[in-house]
Symmetry: none
Subunit: 217 residues, 4 copies
């Protein structure tokens, strides 16, 4: 049962929407480089607001960081989790859908995506309860429901469905990571989307072949 964190109640929501977006984006971009290396000066410079205003809204640098975590979580809920079709009982189909949504998200919000990756890697650094809680939610809220009510009857009887699902999931993570090889621009992604999709479907075809029962025609 995911804890509800109400982003809407945050002070920042009283700020003019355009300016707010500038602040959030500047902060996301700056925090890509880790919490320690980033500077509040760079953020206010990029966002075009004053130092005082940043602290008026967020109190501390940590407060800003924390807000971004909740904000990221919120975006993920609205543009990722809530779009997953849990009615689909074929887990491969469900996972395929999930990864396409993830690609969408990373394309529409690149700064946010980079921030989340960096934040995830940083998880163990400053193990403040707040953060862990958010991370835990991000992870579990997907995992929990992603594999609930799936049709295990599709799997070969001589393979452990749980193990199979794990392998598929790890592979998708691995495949996605190998795409984000660092030096690709957004334009490249757009151009290569078709190639990636075909490759992805090649993997799904393989999964279907090796993990699912043979379909009798």
């Amino acid at each position: 049962m995911a804890r509800e964190v109400d982003i809407g109640a945050h002070k920042i929501m009283q700020m003019d929407a355009g300016k707010r977006e500038r602040v959030i984006n500047a902060a996301l971009v700056e925090f890509r480089n880790g919490f320690g290396h980033s500077s509040t000066d760079a953020i206010v410079r990029e966002a075009g607001i004053s130092k005082g205003l940043l602290y008026h809204y967020f109190g501390t640098k940590e407060g800003l960081y924390e807000f971004l975590l909740f904000y990221a979580l919120d975006v993920m809920r609205r543009e990722y989790f809530s779009l997953l079709n849990f009615g689909e009982r074929d887990v491969l189909e469900r996972l395929r859908q999930m990864i396409l949504l993830k690609w969408d998200l990373s394309y529409k919000h690149p700064a946010l995506f980079d921030f989340m990756i960096a934040a995830y890697a940083r998880e163990r650094e400053d193990p403040s309860d707040q953060f862990s809680a958010v991370y835990a939610e991000i992870q579990s809220s997907v995992a929990e429901r992603l594999f609930s009510d799936i049709d295990t009857a599709l799997f070969r009887e001589d393979v452990d469905a749980q193990k199979a699902v794990n392998v598929i999931q790890w592979s998708l993570v691995g495949y996605s990571d190998s795409q984000i090889s660092g030096d690709k621009s957004l334009e490249d992604y757009q151009k290569d989307y078709g190639v990636y999709l075909a490759e992805l479907d090649g993997y799904f075809a393989m999964f279907r072949k090796i993990f699912y029962k043979e379909v009798k025609l």
Copy 2:
């Protein structure tokens, strides 16, 4: 062709071995928390040496960090890469061996292991050429040889061996990461080693079943 980085030529090698180990370990532990958050004060306090001595040997905080990268690479070479048996042509056997060596390494050098994970996460931050080169070597020098001269005849003819190998590798990474769940002590690892091994072998059995040709008795 891996570039040779000579750790032995570093000034620090003139230091008394015991003290050197204390310094390196203190630094590895401190840098777990990222470069930005760590302090040289904490390192010298933990290592029991003076501020000046640290700077005598490493010049700057960056210099210390860089040394640790080369040092980590060196340890990996000696206790990981060079122990891999590239004569073994069954890729599953080769990968099983690899992951066991990796577990060994993480058990024998936990601080070093944590450091490398943190350093890897930091890779894209400060893309100094030196660092990227080291990372590239770490990654490519394994990947290159790991899948050379493997017996592809073992694979089912209706699966793409390359895709299969990728899936296996991503799965092993995913499985390993899921073990390092953060709050396990060394004792726990030791205690649970048998359990992990059994589980790992469960996955290998599955890979053998789904990717390899059926063995005729």
Copy 3:
């Protein structure tokens, strides 16, 4: 063609005038003891500002030093060079005027004067281009114009006017230096001004007698 260095564009000019003067003066006084021996701590203590503020305005200790050089040049321009009367064609009169202005300057801005002397001595130490350029300007911009369009007809025909001018100039430097004998207070200078002036005019009378044509009555 003297390079224009715009002091007015410096960040420090946004500071409150009174405070700015305190900072500049504290820095001039501290730098009298050479760049190496002086401490920013002493400067901020004396100026009554925080460490951070000094670095906010000047970036580095070098930056502060460099600013002071440009500042000194600027003061010299406004209160020394620009007051020289280049219409006066009698070079002795012109030089007499110059030395009186220099005395004025050293009386009105003793710290600045000491700083410039110390800075000049340091010139060859750290031959950063910036500094050399400033010094070059200080020296050449005077020398260039000081002896242009002078009435050489006043000189005896059997002496080389150029040599004569050099001797006069070197003598004035020597005489001035011999006054700044270190342990005289400002009050002493004021008190002895008349004596010095008489002595100086004694030298000028001599120069007139030995270098200029005899004036026919």
Copy 4:
């Protein structure tokens, strides 16, 4: 009556002559850049001795500096003052001799010469009594005797001989300084010696013409 400072009694004189010379030279060269900016590390590196040895002989950095002052004074005595011919009663001849000896000294001991110039400029920095005393001696011991027992009858009766002597001396200092324009190598000096000498004698001819009585043939 100049205070006798016995260089021969200094600990350093027990050191091997060749090594001693290396140390002294390295220190002279390093101190050219001012006391503050120079480093003992650079000195021992250049001299090829250990840190400990330097401190064994000189106690402190100040001690080394102070020794060099006395050493410089000693060299000046032996190779400069003692060679002046005070029997010569024509002050112009005496001064000409002096400047040629000075040129010799600066040619034979360039590092020592640079050191003395830097030390002189630094005089007021650290007004330790020791230093001032040495400087005072350097200056007065020359000045005192340089103008004693000179033949004032050679001077025109309508010029103040004292003033004339001052002008001559300041001019010689000014002329010498203008030669040491910084970027001339030793080779250049050697090559241009003749030119300089001719120019110098041009000035002496002028001094003779303007300050001395007309010689009747």
